[in-house]
Subunit: 406 residues, 2 copies
């Protein structure tokens, strides 16, 4: 039997999706599972998008251009310009999800063994995309206690080697919900300029900001036009995760032409979904206002409920729809599985994402979980109540087990 590749063996498994079979089992037992683990919002997609799909006027679902429909790229350029991110459609390549945008960016700038510095905890799939691209992730720790602010810039600088090609941030951050300040982005920009590095920002949560803070895009870094690459997607903006439409934005023409070769090889992004996304651009501001109000209330509810649990520590996130909470348990990997496998409160249980999967440094985040507040407030309240009841049960079960073993 022929052997699979080392790359195939070394590709990291999704730390969240590996719990999925246990959630399935819980559901088969008839238990209701509150999914605090996923980034799939329950918010409706914009009517304009759904309508565009229903009214589709095609008899052949044809290939589109490799870079995406020009009409869509032009509307998107206007959309960003309205948000004070001044780009032309030629700076934009439509991709099959933000995932592909990041794969194209990494493929275009990283060779086998090149290093990319990423503040951890970070979106787990960054490890997978790096592995696919042959790049090595060099994590820099952002600290739970400080609410995951940008690590001191000297910490980044210490990690730069001749193999360092890029810094990657997620802003606002999945999994921490942290929003980098303008001054933090400026610091990163100066460092990237000084060492001639690419600075990639995954800004897919750019709309989801709940207080007075303002999102500062890397695209606005003056003098860094050749260094910055923005990753974006409609998944969260329009609650269209299944559309698989994203984009890569950069003013660096060499990056665009390299990425164009990756894009041509895979022919084009999906046609129907692209038409839906073009229609979605006209979504009125009221849609976003409602969504933001809803998420803000969910965030406030979640944080206030979590704070009622003894031993739980959590910082109120500024943006996106995640937070990292520290729980009074030793190992959240084990706890998360136990919740699905062995626990229920009146037939209900909770699925959380163990945070270790978001750290690249082994041993980090073992007592942390990522919680997505993509459920209705009443569901969030029920879910947190289950967590509250479950923690002491889990700890006493584990204690009993330890005693038995000894």
């Amino acid at each position: 039997m022929p052997e699979i590749s080392n790359r195939g063996k070394q590709m990291p498994e999704s730390p969240i999706r590996k719990l999925a079979p246990f959630a399935e089992m819980a559901k088969k037992k008839g238990h209701k599972v509150y999914h605090l683990n996923i980034g799939q919002p329950d918010i409706k997609s914009p009517e304009a998008a759904i309508k565009a799909i229903k009214n589709i006027d095609l008899t052949i679902i044809e290939y589109g251009p490799s870079a995406g429909y020009e009409s869509y790229r032009k509307k998107l350029a206007q959309f960003y310009t309205n948000q004070d991110v001044k780009v032309s459609f030629e700076d934009i390549m439509i991709t099959t999800g933000g995932s592909e945008a990041l794969l194209f960016a990494l493929g275009s700038i990283m060779d086998q063994g090149d290093e990319i510095i990423i503040p951890e905890p970070f979106y787990a799939n960054y490890s997978a995309f790096s592995a696919e691209s042959g790049a090595t992730v060099v994590p820099v720790n952002s600290v739970f206690e400080s609410g995951f602010t940008l690590p001191p810039i000297e910490e980044f600088e210490k990690l730069i080697t001749p193999k360092t090609k890029a810094i990657l941030i997620c802003n606002p951050s999945n999994p921490t919900g942290y929003l980098y300040s303008e001054s933090e982005i400026l610091q990163l920009g100066r460092l990237a300029k000084q060492y001639d590095l690419f600075l990639i920002a995954d800004e897919v949560y750019r709309e989801f900001i709940y207080d007075e803070d303002i999102h500062y895009s890397v695209m606005n870094l003056e003098g860094l036009e050749q260094n910055v690459i923005m990753i974006d997607s409609v998944s969260k903006r329009y609650s269209m995760c299944g559309a698989r439409i994203g984009c890569m934005v950069t003013k660096n023409k060499e990056v665009i032409s390299a990425a164009m070769k990756f894009a041509q090889a895979r022919l084009c992004p999906p046609t129907i979904e692209q038409i839906a996304c073009e229609a979605a651009i006209d979504t009125p501001q009221s849609y976003f206002d409602e969504v933001i109000t809803e998420y803000k209330e969910r965030r406030d509810t979640l944080i206030s409920e979590l704070n009622k649990i003894e031993g739980v520590i959590v910082t109120k996130p500024k943006a996106a729809f995640y937070c990292i909470a520290q729980l009074p348990v030793d190992n959240t990997d084990d706890f998360a599985q136990w919740l699905l496998e062995s626990y229920d409160l009146n037939g209900e249980t909770v699925m959380v994402a163990p945070a270790a999967g978001f750290y690249s440094t082994p041993g980090m985040g073992l007592n942390q979980v990522r919680i997505a507040y993509v459920l209705k407030k009443e569901d969030l309240i029920s879910a947190v109540r289950i967590l509250k009841e479950a923690i002491p049960v889990y700890n006493s079960t584990r204690l009993k087990k330890l005693i038995e073993v000894e």
Copy 2:
């Protein structure tokens, strides 16, 4: 300014898409361009698929499962089983186009520097996907004069090194239109078994067979269950190139689990298009009968028209919707550009795909073009008439230029 990657520099450009700007220019001059260069059929997508899109019953376009919807995978397994390719849904992973299926397959089995043997001429993007995966393409020449039959198996054997991991074929073949016989597939199977290689078959044209020949899938190779990987797509079957829905099929569980990690990283294939493809499975046989009849007539028309041109040599293709024709010109790259840039017959011209782009060996195929017969018969007749008139004009222009230079 930071440098892009060597991989980005070395990624081959699409040999066809690089002519696109010249076609644009011709159109801007008001010329009609007959596209003999592309694989985008003008056949309508099945009504069931379009209807499923129009009747979509979703308010949120959500993430689907990473391996694709189980309901779709099950229907697809039944679809293949009806074609005597006996697979279970667990052997099938839905991908974003056949392109992604091949990327997942290569990523799962090839490491940097590993070698893959491919009979040339081959689908140009195989080079791109290999470059993306760090794999080295080792071409084995299939001969124009013999109608592109399988090269003698000893030619493959000679090329096997300790780095050889796989053989890749396209069956039926884009760009040659050749259909491998059962005996040829059996030979490849024995070789793969003997040297413990993967045997990948891109079978996306499996339905398009025009005479009495029968398609023999690699999935039916007995004892090769752990070696074979089939690549498929709905692009051609249902004339849904823009849907970007394909699949990877294999009974090798290690390959499936490695590919699953690639699949999880990119989350899922597009939701709407997948629903359309599931509906398309019920497309009645009459749809295919009509399509095949139409293509058969187009093929016969094209070949008989081409044979009327002095100096053109072409073998009647058995399958798919391409043929490779040898033209009485020195360099079809130059000729194809000239057709768009400097020639028209009553305001009309033709775009062909220079065949050199389908060879990995430099200097091969310089006087060949790939012609796709995806246009109506009357358009094929007009297009070939233009070719016929253009060739002597081109040759005398080139001769004049040569004399001027001397």
